[in-house]
Structure formats: C-alpha cells, structure tokens
Amino acid sequence: MMTQYVHQPSFMTGDEFSIETFCLLNPDGELYEGAEEPALTREHARKLYQAMLATRILDERMMAAQRQGRLSFYMQCTGEEAAVVGAAAALDDADMIMAQYREQGALMYRGFSIDEFMNQLFGNELDYGKGRQMPIHYGSRKLHYMTISSPLATQIPQATGYAYGQKLAGEGHCTLTFFGEGAASEGDFHAALNMASVHQVPVIFFCRNNGYAISTPSTEQFAADGIAPRAFGYHMHVIRVDGNDALAVYEATRQARKIAVEQNQPVLIEAMSYRLAAHSSSDDPSGYRAKSEEEAWRVKDPLLRMQRWLAKKGWWSDEEEATQQETLRREVLETMKRAEKRPPPPLESLISDVYADVTPALQRQLDQLKRHIRRYPEAYPRGAKSLDLTLSSATDSQGEA
C-alpha cells in the first residue's frame, strides 16, 4: 500500500466511512426489494428452520427445568437462533466449529441428538465430557464441534491455529469460531485476528453482537460502531449482517467460507442481534435493562421471520409447526427423564484424561480416595455408588476404625 503524503494534519476516527448491514428478509419474512434469495433447497431450508425451532424449544424446556431445580444451570440461545443456525448451515459439515457457549443451535443443526444434549446437561455416565463441566459445555468430535470452554475468547486464537492446520492438511476445510461482542474485548481476540491475517488462515470469526455481556451494554464495551470496523486493522474481509435474518446470515457465511477456503483468507462476520433471555439461569436482566427494550426486540424474533418466509414458499405450514413443537417438547421431556436417572460417571473419571495415561501418583490418590469412601460411603453417595457400596449397610461410624 502506497501512502499519500499530506501537509495539513488531519485526524480520522472512522466516521469517514460506514459499514452497512446486509439483510434479505424483513420481519414479515418477505424478501426486501432488490434482495436475491440464496440458493437453498427446500430440504436445506427446512432443516435450518427445524434446528432453530428445536433449539428454541430445548431452551424453553431446560430453563423451566432449571427453575424447577432439576438442573443446576442453563443458558439460552433465544433470539440468536438465526445467527448461529444460519452460519452452521452455510458450512461444510466437516468444517470445525469452535463456539463460545450460546450456540447450541449450530450443534442442533449438525445433528447432536436430544439425548446427547441431555447427557451433557445432567453430566451422567453417557456425557462425552464425563460430568466434568457445567451444563451447556457441549462437544462432539464426530460433528466437528469443539468442546466448549468457559474462559472467554480463548477459542478465538485456537480457531486460527486449528484452521492453519486445516490449510496445511489441504482438504479444503475451514474453522468458524463464534464469540460474543463482550468476548471480543479480550486480548485473545486481537491476537487471533492478527495472526490469521498475517498467516492467511481459512478461519471465519463470527461475532454475535447481542448488545450485552451479562449486564454490560455494548456502549460500555466499545466506543466504535460495533465490532466490524476492527477488521480494517487487519486488512481482513468483513461483513455485517442482520443476525435475526437466517437467510442473510446463511448467505454471508456461505460467501465468507468461499473466501476463507478458496483464498486462504480469514473473514470477520458481525451478526447484529439481541439476547432475548437472561444471560444465564443465574441472571436477572431487570437489574440493568428495560423490559420495553426487550419487547422491541421480541417483535424481530428470528424464528417468526424464517417461518413466515418458509410458509410463503409453501415449505412449512402451521400444522407442521404445531406438530413439530409438540413432538419436540415431548421428546425433550422424555429424554430429560431418562438422562437425569442415569448414574454419574464412575469414580475413575476423577483422574482419567488429566494425562493420556493415568500417572502412578494419580492412581495412588484415587486408591486412597476409594479407601476413604469405603469408610464413609454415606458421605459420598456418588462415589459409593460407583464403588457398588450399599449405602444402608453397616459402615464405620464416624471416627471408628
């Protein structure tokens, strides 16, 4: 880039240009004038919508279950289903997804079963994560969905590294990483985008700008017009998209993927949306935002918009909607009942996977723990169960050998 020389000092701020928002469907599910429908088959479009719907229903049910005390913790994707499912639908199923935590819709789209969701949520013996992480920390190797990690933004430079490996492997795959506008404040964000652009890595940075990081509104998170203008600092392709418009998200991501995979260039996507629900089951938004603000966004519900578009195409009907909802609710409830009854992971899971092989020192720690639990089985019902100890049996009373 050749710079031009000037002799009058002048400061820029970013107000010199503007970043537009790409959208295809209006809230009524109609194409805007001049908008082109993406080449989505009926099957594909239905699959996309169904994943959004399933996510919505899973979230509603599980939040209710959390309120009933059946689950320790939950986080909803509500309001952002178009953003996450639309993005997932534009990828190859073998592309890696590295998400933050609020993107269960993408996993749903890829075919994670309700059973699989439940096993993680209840941390039972079938949970792939062996009951070690809090609810919603899903992962699936076969679905190319990296296990969620709580520390924010750490997955962003990891996505750059993962995609670098994919580039060297030369199989035409890329990585998409989701993160919130809050997480984008972390140092890891800067590291990730800069390294991706310098090393020409096929990675898509997908920012869900949902207006809040817990209680912190985006006005206290950054001063600029969103996250998008940061791309200029890396000479990176960027597009801003209406995150409540599944079609636009799909199309933006599809094109981003082409750039990533064909040109080995990273792309930043900023999806504008809103976190309709509380941050998590531990949060109460009434302490920091107005109900009216929530209401204003509720009318932009991404599910309604997509459903209307499908209905207009004759690809979805009210009856189908009703049956699907009904079926999904039932499935969630039944699966939940099964999952919560399953036993926890075995005691051995306390020490496995710390290293590829259990070290002798860890084995000794576990053996000691087992002896202790045998002494006090009532105090460790889960451990005792795993050791097949009968709890009511004559065990040492406290303090007697």
Partner: protein
C-alpha cells in the same frame, strides 16, 4: 454491630473506603449499575458516581493493566476479577508488573494502592472454571500480598486493611461463603492486621492450618477429633503472603503434629510451602510427618466434586493417622 453475610461485609468495607477517600475507585466486569455478578459492589455507582465505580470492557489483562497505571498515578484502585478462574489473562500484569513495580523502579513509582478482589473456591457446582483456588500461583511472587478472609467480620476488616496497605494485595474471597457465612460485624471502620495468623481454637495434640472457606471444614474436623479426645489447635493463616511462620511454628512446637489443608491440587499447592518451612523450623519437635489434605492433582471436577474436595472427614482421618503415627 449488625448481622451481615460476607457479601454485605465486603460491600460495606468498599462503601466505607470510598466514602472516606475519594481516590478510591472500584471497577471490573459488571460492577457498575448491576453491582457485580455477586452484588459485592451494589449501590456504589449510585452513591459515588460512574467515574468512581464502573463497568470495564471484558478484558482482565486490561483491567489489571489499567489498575496498575491508576495506582501508579496515586489513585487507590480496587479492581474486581469476576472469578479467580479468570484472573489468568491478567497474570503477566500481576506477576511481572504489579509485583515488581516498586522494586524495579527503586521506589520511584509503586502500585501500592492496588487491591485485586476476586471470588475463589469450590463447593458451588461450578466445575473446572468456577471453582479454582489459584493462591499458590501468586504466593510464589515476591512483591504481592495475598489475603483470604474466612467470615464476614474478617472480610470487612481485612479488606479495609488491604485497600489501605502500602503494597498491592490480592484479596481472595471464598465465594461459597458469600451468602452462607453470616455473622456480627461492627458497622464502623476497623482493620485487621495483614501478615498475622489467628489461632481460632487452642489445643495441644495437633495443629490444623488453613485459610478461607477451608476453615469451616477444618473446624468441623476438629470437632470430630475432639469427640475422640484429640485436642486440635486451629490456625487461620488469613494472610498467605507474607505468612505468619512464627505463630504456626509456636503451635507445632507445642503439638508436634500438623495438618495443612486447601482445595487446590496437592502438587505445588501452598501447603507444600508450609510443610517445608515447618519441618525445618520444628524438626526436633515433630512426632509425625506433616500431612497435606488437599484437592486431587486434577482439574476441578463437577459431578464428583464432593469426592474431590478435602472435607471434614478426610481431615479427620488425617488427624487420626497423624496422632496414631
């Protein structure tokens, strides 16, 4: 006197510090209007304005970097890290900067006005990333002070002391006790000493050492032991860096036995430092090996948390073994 839980005691300490000195500034993720995810900073923004109590962007390295600069300027910075598990992005700012600021400048500049508050510890079904006890990562760092209160009364007095201490203090708050620990707390201003342990129960047979939430567990184990006729001396270190070797050694001279307990993994945990120091100081007085009752050498688990944690029964068993050695 008023009845307060630990959060209220902390909030009250911050309130007193901010009212007294307008140089005191509180900030961190969600600490503003919302008052922090645990509400430790409730109403402070309302009372003292947005300039003195505010939300920061979500960036721990920035929070502590900012805090270092603010403290160097002469302000009294009280930074909150939302969970101790998320303090690691700020590790460089804390270990390379905060801790070495005064030393490297030959005391031209210092960040003594800095206090970092952060909730730590398990027992809340938080799994790997909402349960860690990272104290040992900081106790190896000369230049820092590390303080951990065990109840509301201690929390208020130690936090006020930390804020006013001329050195930077990492103040670890046992979040399991935030609402669970309730007690009488003077409404007025008071401070408790940093660097001094407290013997919270006297005894002649064995010394039990810990800090923070673990004191509750240790005290329960001491009661069990008492029932068996074993008289435990229970010591709350309160301050891990510097730590009160003399008080602990005095006790071990008397009892000849010691157990140290913490939730963090065994290997490299702070109990190792205590054991190493005391075996040297009290070598000829020890009647049995110093025992550590700690978390396993694994990340913090979730479903099997109860099994992982060094509870009163594990400590009680260790007491018996030590006494019967």
């Amino acid at each position: 006197m008023a009845t307060m839980n630990m959060l209220q005691a902390i909030n009250n300490a911050l309130d007193i510090a901010m009212a007294e000195d307008e140089k005191v500034i509180c900030f961190g993720e969600d600490v503003g209007i919302f008052g922090g995810v645990f509400r430790a900073t409730s109403h402070l923004q309302e009372k003292y304005g947005k300039a003195r109590c505010f939300n920061t962007p979500l960036v721990e390295q920035g929070i502590i970097g900012f805090a270092n600069g603010l403290a160097a300027q002469g302000s009294v910075a009280v930074a909150e890290i939302q969970f101790a598990d998320y303090i690691f992005p700020a590790f460089d700012q804390i270990v390379n900067e905060t801790a070495k600021f005064r030393y490297r400048s030959g005391d031209l500049f210092n960040v003594g006005g800095l206090t970092i508050r952060t909730p730590y510890g398990g027992g809340i079904s938080g799994g790997l990333y909402h349960s860690q006890s990272p104290e040992a990562y900081f106790t190896h760092t000369p230049g820092l002070k590390v303080v951990v209160p065990r109840n509301p009364y201690q929390a208020k007095g130690l936090l006020l002391a930390a804020i006013r201490d001329p050195d930077p203090v990492l103040f670890l708050e046992p979040k399991r006790l935030y609402r669970a620990a309730v007690g009488e707390v003077p409404e007025e201003d008071y401070q408790l000493p940093i660097g001094e342990a407290e013997v919270i129960k006297e005894g002649t047979d064995i010394t039990l050492v810990g800090w923070g939430a673990q004191m509750e567990v240790i005290s329960k184990a001491a009661e069990l032991a008492e029932e068996q006729g074993i008289a435990c001396e229970v010591i709350d270190l309160r301050s891990l860096l510097p730590w009160d070797v003399d008080t602990v050694a005095e006790s071990v001279f008397k009892t000849g036995r010691m157990i140290v307990s913490h939730e963090a993994p065994l290997t490299g945990g702070f109990a190792g430092e205590i054991a190493a120091t005391i075996q040297e100081r009290c070598f000829l007085y020890l009647e049995s090996p110093i025992t550590r009752v700690t978390g396993l050498d694994t990340p913090f688990p979730l479903v099997l948390e109860k099994e992982y944690l060094p509870d009163h029964l594990k400590i009680f068993e260790a007491i018996r073994e030590s006494v019967n050695f």
